[in-house]
Assembly symmetry: C2
Homo-oligomer: 573 residues x 2
Amino acid sequence: MNKVLAYLPIAQWLPGYQKTDATQDGLAAIIVTLMLIPQSLAYAMVAGLPPVYGLYASILPLVVYTLLGTSKTLSVGPVAVVALMTAETLNELYPLGSVEYIYGASILALLSGAVLLIMAVFRLGFLTHFISHPVLSGFMTASGILIIVSQSKHLLGVTSQGNNAVELLFSLFQQLNVTNLSTATIGIGSLLALIGSRLYLPRCLIKMGTPSRWSAQIVKLAPVFVMLLCIAIVSLFHLQTHGVRVVGIIPSGLPALSLPNINLHDIYTLLPAAILISLVGFVESASVGQTLAAKSNHKILPNQELIALSGANIASALSSGFPVTGGLSRSVVNFDAGASTPLAGTFTAIGISLTALYFTPLFESLPQSVLAAIIIVAVSSLIDFKAIFHVWKTSKSDGFSMSLTVLGVLLINVEIGIILGVISSIFLHIMRTSRPHIAVVGLLPNSQHFRNIDRYEVETCANIVTIRIDESLYFVNAQYLEDKIPQYIVDYPDAKHLILMCSGVNTVDVSALDSLKKIISDLKERGITVHLSEVKGPVMDILQHSHFIENLSGGVYIDQFTAYHSVKAICNH
Amino acid sequence: MNKVLAYLPIAQWLPGYQKTDATQDGLAAIIVTLMLIPQSLAYAMVAGLPPVYGLYASILPLVVYTLLGTSKTLSVGPVAVVALMTAETLNELYPLGSVEYIYGASILALLSGAVLLIMAVFRLGFLTHFISHPVLSGFMTASGILIIVSQSKHLLGVTSQGNNAVELLFSLFQQLNVTNLSTATIGIGSLLALIGSRLYLPRCLIKMGTPSRWSAQIVKLAPVFVMLLCIAIVSLFHLQTHGVRVVGIIPSGLPALSLPNINLHDIYTLLPAAILISLVGFVESASVGQTLAAKSNHKILPNQELIALSGANIASALSSGFPVTGGLSRSVVNFDAGASTPLAGTFTAIGISLTALYFTPLFESLPQSVLAAIIIVAVSSLIDFKAIFHVWKTSKSDGFSMSLTVLGVLLINVEIGIILGVISSIFLHIMRTSRPHIAVVGLLPNSQHFRNIDRYEVETCANIVTIRIDESLYFVNAQYLEDKIPQYIVDYPDAKHLILMCSGVNTVDVSALDSLKKIISDLKERGITVHLSEVKGPVMDILQHSHFIENLSGGVYIDQFTAYHSVKAICNH
């Protein structure tokens, strides 16, 4: 029983739940619900689904996360990047708006749940570490741009098409002359109102005497006000008849609970995307969770988070939803609004359920261009050009991987973008180790330290060459060592001893041992003895297991200073 | 003009060519030609081609290598592993024995030539370093086993089938009852004769007074004698009529020179295999070339070797051949027979041409089971179980990659085998760096050295914790550092200073910098200052470019001893 409870974090905190917690969670839930309604509808649109599916995906997953999650304030539901990845996957397989498309989204959520569960069981959360910060940051920026470009057609009421961001943009420009004026006016008007409220509203409110804490909340609710205003305008002036596309009739009520039927063919076609969605979703969720946890001084448990996200996705699939994860903007609102426990999520789910049950008729006249404006403003926070410049300045290889990710997302698709980013960053890291930095070193006077002879005035001995290799020795650089080390010796015609200083050698493998053996035997023929110094524990273990030490022509010394003096003594002997 | 000559190594050595060289090269060529005839026929059979194509692939490529190659004794032509890879690629696409199959082999040679040329132009030879020694060794062993298993059907005159070694073996056992007795007798007899001549002939010959140098050559020619003997037996007793399958009628003459027509579809289906064949072929050729060059004290130039192999493959395609590379056994024979320059190769090509022109009728009665026996004995030298045990003993991860390669080759196919090997060895190397060895260190009394406090009696100070991280800091281990370093500090409640000793940190990237910044700011809140010591030059450059130093709460010290004393002074201040 205790074992089961270990996987139900709610069992730990619920017994201590207090009235004040309930008040705080309830208040937070009201604010988050209001903010989530337009956002959920909008992200469903990003995913290529009818807007109401955004509400469906914002009910059960929140309840499940309340039971299983370890973050107090993470809010799980539809988020921009995951919605985009869902759309890109399904677009290639099913016609937009078809039953199969909608069904495919649920299958994708179910498969993501399964992938996350497998990751939890086999403790594969570390796989997300393969996505470097620059690649993730580039991916977010490019996804933000792609979402903005693809939503612009809804904003302007045109029908641009394309397989990537550039084609979409090009098609958009071609269609500018057939823009629906009413739609564009509402869309761009909403956009300006939302941007304006972000930039100026907080200051205005504070000037008007609103407490700063409240003003921040009110700004977050600006999309709700804009949405309601536009619904009113459209209804009043019957703008539907002027070509303004609206959300239309939404079936009231909650989704029927049933898991999608899944067959081998679905798994085959959707699993690769599900794996990427799970990885990206988990990275986003974990980083949001960790940031918020650090602020409120509690800890999140990565493996339990995998279980919680798995449950949330399966719950989403159960309620006809699409893949979900912990989102940044919704979680920040939840945190700022003072949520005290994960129960705030369940309260929010109740709020969304009430909306789905009773308020859907309200959204029938909601113009799609307003939702597009809300999305564009929301995802603009993903775009961070400054980070791109900063990364390029710090590291060319990180900058390269980041740019490749951005280009991949914009010119091909999001999956290829992230895959290119991960593979190139691993490849470049390996390439960096393939030609290790090698320095000939000498003794720094009046010390026990050895430094590069090219950079410092150091003491050397004509019969002894000391080479420091600043890298683990393994198959990728083994041949390079074999080529280079003898070349270094050529410059020292009186050399009788070579000391390899191994302070930077963290591991060694069979290929490198083969190469070292070859180097040692070649140098032996030329009358040069090879010694090792500063060999680390794990490396020494491998040398001993492989009987390498027995073939070594010289000795192994604990530190370079001892090595140098011992070998010098041999020379003078 | 000089620029062109730089790519024609023959221009350097031909002017100094002497009569004695010609004698040596001529003698070597006779021996190699005799040895190559059965081997070429046999490897064509491994490639799934009519035996005569083995002769075709052994003429022009040798001439081209004479012009372009930098090894004095490397012999280029059909080799076992490349023939096997050719067969596995074509088997999946075309029916065995069809015109398309034969034509496909030429296209594969042409594409390999193109891949090798591209590798030369863009200096991509380093890509072969991604194949670790254990993976290559496992690949060779498994390929040897696979060839033996697949040739056993010819040896016994049965028709076993299967998609991998296990299926082939299983099918072979099922068919044992329908073995053709005459075929099996000739096959197994030849096999025993060849094995016997390897094991006992040298000793016998030496006992009989043959000089040891000659006895080795005679043993190498054993396949020729066995072949001739069997041809005689089959002809004499008309064994073809008893179900012994023979090579059959071979068109006399040289192949017509023409490059295969190639279209986009061929490139699409054959390029991946051509890339793998080129990589494996180049690794084999380069390692054979390097080993022999070291013995005769000359140097081979890897990039020129790429050009030479590219030319050899294009020449093979031009003469209806299949992919070729520098082979171990043929090169060793060439070397042992005293070849003095690459002209020996051209002389060999003349010998093979004469064979193709005038002696093909001789092979009409050559039983396929003899060729199978020759192959089996030849490839048995590829199999090295001792190496597998040695690798496992030295390194679990190398052993794992090696075993995965072996299993991949035997259970799936050669391509998957080598890909699994390369990917797993890179993955395991990266995993090894994902949880770096971290040690808390203290000052070794009466020295300036700092060692692990768990292994040595060292001096420490309650206010100072020094942590040594034995790995480059990069995206794969950034999160691990973020999790672990604060945990180490918890054990030292009086800690006011943390010194990160960076002697094992060879590089640092943006992700790791992000994590370090987080660690530093978190520790700052807990009243702990972070210092760095022994930062290497390239790492220091990155720290400065990224303005990291400005955010560092403490100082940067050239060595740990200075850092320790400076920080101690701050504490006592």
